[in-house]
């Protein structure tokens, strides 16, 4: 067994905090928003402190060489409010999120662990419903929850329930997916309409309830990814699930990691009418709204048709389509041809999207 080589950052413990205190003396909500501040917090604080080659890939999970094979490891914490929303709940989301992070490494999920931080006073009935939902999601995804941890914190010191899940999966031979793998000429594919999860959550948030039949797209994507890899395996260069920060943040990370440009076609990006309407009213850009059942696949152009056919043959990929291409221009940046034929930059989100005044 070969353990990942650990590079100890020399003398780091004696250094000052790498995010200047004068700029951010306190953690802001935006540090968890999935945009530029999250990116900065991860890069400057966590990656700087924990530096090692597996982490440096900055993928959704780490891929480790273990006993002649490759194992992917990923972890994710779930703090969603409200805990029950149209199309899912914090339990099913906790399973899907980590399964998907493994799938984005090209891995077949093997097992999950679950850690629960419960606030004193949470109704046992609610916890039971959430655990049942986790079990149903895990069974449907074909993974077992094999270890766990429970902590209860004083009333007022947690927001009801936080769940962490960690997962491991096996990466088959011949799969070479990395966040830096996009090459000019590749096409950008997505498996269906964007921004559904974020808008479904918002529709039931306190103070903003609006009537909609919209449900979250939360789903386990490893089956879809397996079909894609089965069809065109080596032609798949990057996989990414555009969760927090949405499609734009995920693509900016890919462009940056691959030192290539990405050009989107606004008219080609699938989005449900209801989601578009909600975004128009609230002044939100759907490119920055979270998804929980979408995968962005960067695929070699000559295999794109076969890739789309494989995606569309799966129930979670019926709406699969190409939304853009990887280009040599503007390396590290994402641009978009607007609906009316203009061009603009699609930047990484700064902080959180805040609904506008008028």
């Amino acid at each position: 067994m070969t353990a990942p080589s650990i590079v100890t950052p020399a003398g780091l413990s004696g250094l000052a905090c790498p995010i200047p205190i004068s700029e951010y003396p306190h953690v802001l909500l935006a540090h968890g928003g999935g945009g530029r501040l999250t990116h900065m917090l991860i890069q400057k604080l966590f990656v700087a402190a924990f530096a090692n080659p597996a982490l440096a890939a900055l993928h959704d999970g780490a891929v480790l060489d273990v006993a002649g094979g490759r194992i992917a490891v990923s972890t994710d914490s779930f703090v969603v409010t409200p805990r029950f929303f149209p199309g899912g709940d914090i339990g099913s989301l906790a399973v899907h999120g980590t399964v998907n992070d493994l799938a984005m490494c090209g891995a077949t999920p093997l097992a999950l662990t679950a850690g629960f931080v419960i606030e004193e006073g949470l109704e046992m009935e609610e916890l039971w419903r959430i655990v049942q939902s986790m079990q149903a999601a895990a069974a449907a995804a074909g993974v077992a929850i094999v270890a766990g941890d429970t902590k209860v914190v004083d009333r007022g010191k947690g927001d009801g329930l936080f769940i962490n899940t960690t997962g491991i999966g096996r990466v088959a031979d011949g799969i070479g997916i990395s966040p830096g793998g996009a090459r000019p000429g590749d096409l950008v594919l997505i498996n269906g309409p964007i921004a559904q999860h974020g808008i479904a959550i918002m529709s039931v948030r306190e103070g903003l309830e609006f009537e909609t039949t919209l449900t979250s797209d939360s789903a386990a994507l490893h089956g879809l990814v397996a079909d894609l890899l089965g069809a065109v395996g080596p032609a798949v260069h990057v996989l990414r699930d555009p969760t927090r920060g949405g499609v734009s943040s995920a693509l900016n990370e890919i462009a940056e990691g691959s030192r290539a440009g990405i050009r989107l076609d606004e008219a080609a990006i699938p989005i449900a009418e209801e989601v578009r309407g909600a975004c128009e009213i609230l002044g939100l850009d759907p490119l920055y709204v979270a998804n929980e059942g979408k995968v962005l696949a960067i695929v070699a152009r000559e295999s794109a048709d076969a890739a789309l056919a494989a995606l569309r043959a799966h129930p979670l990929g019926r709406g699969a389509t190409a939304i853009g291409e990887v280009v040599e221009d503007h390396p590290g940046r994402v641009s978009m041809r607007s609906r009316i034929g203009g061009t603009r930059v699609v930047d990484m989100l700064s902080g959180e999207q805040l609904p506008r005044i008028c």
Binding site: E23, H26, V27, L28, L29, A30, R36, L37, M40, G207, L208, E273, R276, G277, E280, L282, G283, S335, S338, R339, I340, G341, G342, T343, R344, V345, D347, S350, G351, Q353, L354, P355, R356, I357, C358
Partner: protein
């Protein structure tokens, strides 16, 4: 989607762009008043399609941007009080005050909440009778009726624990101030369509006549904007002045009478300070004396707070159309959405935010 897709039609938008190219014979400078219009220009890439001889400058129509620093500091001082639930639209949360912003006050334990309607703040006050609920009432004539309605409702409900930090501003006095300034560059205006849905466009007629400019009431979609620009350019090329209405699907000459009636009952016109522009006479609303008990500035005695803006930030010149974001030495370096020096970099209607996010034409 109906009422959206029609106005984002590529063929029709491009036809207007070509017509503008054919019509323009010399350099012109137009100002779009509203920050929402600025964002559409840059987000859809229209700014890069128009003739080089046509200069678009971005107006003061971003309510977050024109709210002066001392008013943000007042909001922060109120939000820090333990008995207060401070409510605001999302836009205002990241705008820097002298030392901090509302999101940071929240991070440090202040009860700061984002609401989507001022009536949500009234409901919060009903729900939490032991707390003081304050709403940051920012905006132009467009948002004033809803905010006025919140005060009217609070009065009707007899709420003792609701108040607004009133920062309402009015468009025509700001246009008068711009046009009357000796350094004015603007030759024609795209007036803010949504302001006119409430107020109509009667009040722009004397303004256009006095300053000999065309004013085109314009909407916010790409097709609205290219049509508005085409109408303004045609008027300039033909030497016509006066008010024209591009946004006929929403705006009438007299506007929304019931909304105007409510505004008259709750508010009265007052002088108001604008960021970077100083005090403009008769350019804002304050609560009438019958409603003065809902004035947070009085309730929490924060009227005396004064502040000085960053000398590096040229927000005032940008809001007056004298400079563009790229003209600012701090743009993109010392001033970014993560570290804004001024409100135009963080507001969703701010010109600097539009240029930073979408890469506006220099």
């Amino acid at each position: 989607m109906r009422f959206v897709d029609e106005y984002r039609n590529e063929a029709e938008t491009q036809a207007f762009v070509r017509a503008i190219h054919r019509r323009v014979t010399r350099p012109w400078t137009l100002m779009e008043i509203c920050g929402g219009q600025t964002h559409t220009f840059v987000k859809s890439g229209i700014d890069r399609m128009l003739p080089d001889s046509l200069t678009l400058v971005h107006g003061p129509g971003c309510p977050v941007c024109v709210t002066p620093l001392e008013q943000i500091d007042r909001a922060i001082a109120i939000a820090r009080r333990p008995e207060v639930v401070f409510t605001s639209f999302g836009d205002m949360m990241r705008v820097p005050g002298s030392s901090t912003d509302l999101l940071s006050v929240k991070a440090q334990g202040g009860d700061v909440r984002m609401v989507y309607s001022p009536l949500d703040a009234v409901r919060l006050a009903q729900k939490h009778p032991a707390r003081q609920v304050v709403f940051f009432a920012v905006g132009f004539e467009t948002t004033a009726p809803a905010n006025g309605m919140a005060v009217w409702q609070a009065a009707k409900l007899g709420l003792e624990n609701f108040s607004i930090l009133c920062s309402h501003v009015l468009v025509p006095p700001a246009m008068e101030a711009l046009l009357g300034a000796p350094d004015n560059l603007v030759q024609g205006f795209l007036a803010a369509g949504h302001v006119c849905t409430v107020m109509g466009y009667e009040e722009y007629v004397p303004l256009a006549a006095k300053h000999r400019v065309p004013i085109v009431v314009t909407g916010f979609e790409p097709l609205d904007l290219v049509q508005g620009v085409h109408m303004a350019i045609a008027a300039l090329e033909e030497g016509r002045v006066g008010v024209e209405n591009q946004y006929t699907r929403a705006v009438t000459r007299e506007g929304n009478r019931p909304a105007q009636k409510l505004l008259g009952e709750v508010f009265e016109v007052c002088d108001r300070a604008w960021r970077g522009m100083g005090v403009i006479p008769a350019s804002g609303y304050r609560l009438r004396s019958e409603f003065a008990r809902f004035d947070a500035e009085r309730r929490f005695d924060v009227g005396g707070i004064e502040a000085r803006e960053s000398p590096l930030c040229i927000a005032g010149e940008i809001l007056k159309g004298l400079k563009k974001p790229h003209d600012c030495a701090a743009f993109g370096s010392r001033c970014t959405p993560e570290h804004p020096l001024g409100a135009p970099m963080v507001s969703s209607e701010g010109a600097c935010a539009a240029y930073y996010q979408y890469g506006g034409k220099g």
